[in-house]
Chain length 337, copies 2
């Protein structure tokens, strides 16, 4: 089934089920008012939500209404946990290559993950509000929303806790990162609010594209209407979602509604750490990577970070070309310097 | 007023007002079912909660019941935002001194802060469940809970958003920290769930002890019933709570219910970066600091990290010796290795 959250006057919005063409939705207040409430009581809610979803799909929903992604919040408008992995090591290798450093051997066995802030996400079609001088970039990723995960869960146990799959734009402020990471405590100001796709799906909706705890489909990124990247999220993912969740739960339980991200999707495409779309490659899912590629190939980065009015679109389509999650469409609204 | 959250079958528990001797409490479901709900609608709830608090204090509450800290959750059992500063630079200076390194000049002007995980906190009297080999330590701190803070808030604006003050035990796994910080993305596994004091207070309850956006009282730490530290939280705090909140809000709004911590309270006490309680000093608010002090003074750290069954107690008392927040009492329950 497909779930979304409509904006209301409440910070948590209203949970709706969505049909498979993403054209109709139906509120389900009799089951759960919000997605967090449904996740908190999933054993009861999940079959009821499946029933409501099937009724909508069959045209039997009494209060069906047109589905408008622009009226959506992120599925969890605020969450209790947002932890983002860095599972595509091509991204890390590219960063290191650009500065002529080695990738530590442990990076291939121990996932990189940062603790994100989750008190208020950007809605899927809301603006990114930031200063251009902060170096505004996107990171297109896949994420999962979990149920309860016990402390010390194995990857197999962690896999059982995956409730929903969705896309994320992990907004990054590149010019704030070096000084912040140099302080030693990780990201904070350099990782402002992220945006999620309008629709979250149960893994069964993904069919064969969901296997090995990975999503095997291209992630489509456009900037100002032009193709920027379409790396396959199932390729070169060194740690699958079960491993990422288990990493997050090593020393703490994870509560229902925890969101675990994949990190920027990035395909190696042979020895060049990827290639731009214009050069026939699958491109990239963040500007930083194309700039590193340019640095390696041309000696200098030429693609600028985002500027006022720039539009980033992130989506994923199935083999029939159907949009699975709806589109993230974030336009930059630059703050005065 | 004083607020607390009783454990119920709901993950968010039940909001109660508490009297000034912390002996009586009263649920307030007609005002707000949970503390998060009250914070989400503070303009409406705050005067009503003040009224309920005054009625309880005057002995007019109809449903008053004995207040039992052991029946409490942390005031926000799960939160949308937990960001912890490191405002007592003695802590940082001590770490650096122990490894003969300089403190970067920017540390005196730009607050250190890490993004914490907040999906499930430990209750004030619940155990710390961890492996001894992880190097289990506590960090006694003061924290504030905010209302809405706009992106780019000044310290003066940030100060207006302080709703409640409370204590925190920021549990830290010392043996996991070096390898985790070396990866460059900050803390994750090394900072498991924190515990908060049973009671949270509005700043007006602190009288003259709350000034300059700091709490000017000793923070009392005991380990296994013996004094471990009593540093004054108003002394040597290089960044006040208004500055810490403004730091957190530089690139994102903070939603109501955001918790901002002070970092481990630490007093310099002259040139020795503090002194142990047995040596007549105010002691320390974490084991790591006393171990660094021992390393500097004696050439080796002798105080062990926490072991199975060890009890940490954190509290703060006013000038009349009255406990302000109730006690955090976390006993270690060691996991098998």
């Amino acid at each position: 089934m497909r779930l979304a959250t409509l904006k209301t006057t409440s910070p948590d919005g209203q949970l709706v089920v969505v049909n498979d063409t993403l054209t109709q939705c139906q509120p389900v207040p009799e089951i759960a008012p919000t997605l967090q409430a449904a996740l908190d009581d999933w054993a009861r809610c999940e079959p009821l939500l499946q029933g409501a979803s099937q009724a909508l799909q069959a045209g039997h929903a009494r209060h069906a209404r047109p589905f408008d992604p622009a009226a959506c919040h992120s599925p969890l408008p605020r969450a209790y946990q947002w932890a983002d992995g860095s599972a595509y090591l091509n991204h890390v290798e590219l960063v290191r290559k650009a500065r002529k450093a080695e990738v530590p051997a442990t990076f291939y066995t121990d996932p990189l993950m940062y603790q994100g802030g989750s008190d208020s996400f950007i809605a899927p079609c809301d603006p990114i509000v930031a200063k251009e001088s902060w170096g505004i970039d996107f990171e297109a990723e896949v994420a999962v929303i979990t149920g309860e995960v016990p402390l010390g869960a194995t990857p197999a146990q962690a896999a059982q806790a995956i409730r929903l799959v969705l896309l994320v734009n992990d907004v990054s402020l590149r010019h704030l990162i070096p000084a912040e990471l140099a302080k030693g405590f990780g990201f904070f100001q350099s990782k402002p609010a992220s945006a999620f796709s309008p629709v979250a799906l149960t893994p069964d909706e993904l069919g064969a594209a969901w296997r090995d705890h990975k999503l095997h489909l291209p992630l489509r990124v456009q900037v100002n209407g032009k193709p920027f990247g379409q790396p396959n999220a199932g390729v070169d993912m060194s740690f699958d979602f079960a491993q990422l969740i288990a990493h997050a739960a090593k020393t703490r339980r994870l509560a229902p509604g925890s969101i675990i991200g994949s990190g920027t999707v990035s395909n190696k495409q042979g020895g060049l750490w990827g290639s731009k779309v214009e050069h026939g490659g699958v491109g990239y899912a963040c500007i930083a990577e194309v700039r590193m590629y340019e640095s390696i190939e041309q000696g200098e980065a030429v693609t600028p970070f985002l500027r006022d009015g720039d539009l980033v679109e992130i989506s994923m389509h199935d083999d029939q070309g159907r949009s699975l999650f709806g589109s993230i469409r974030n336009r930059v609204q630059a703050l005065p310097e």
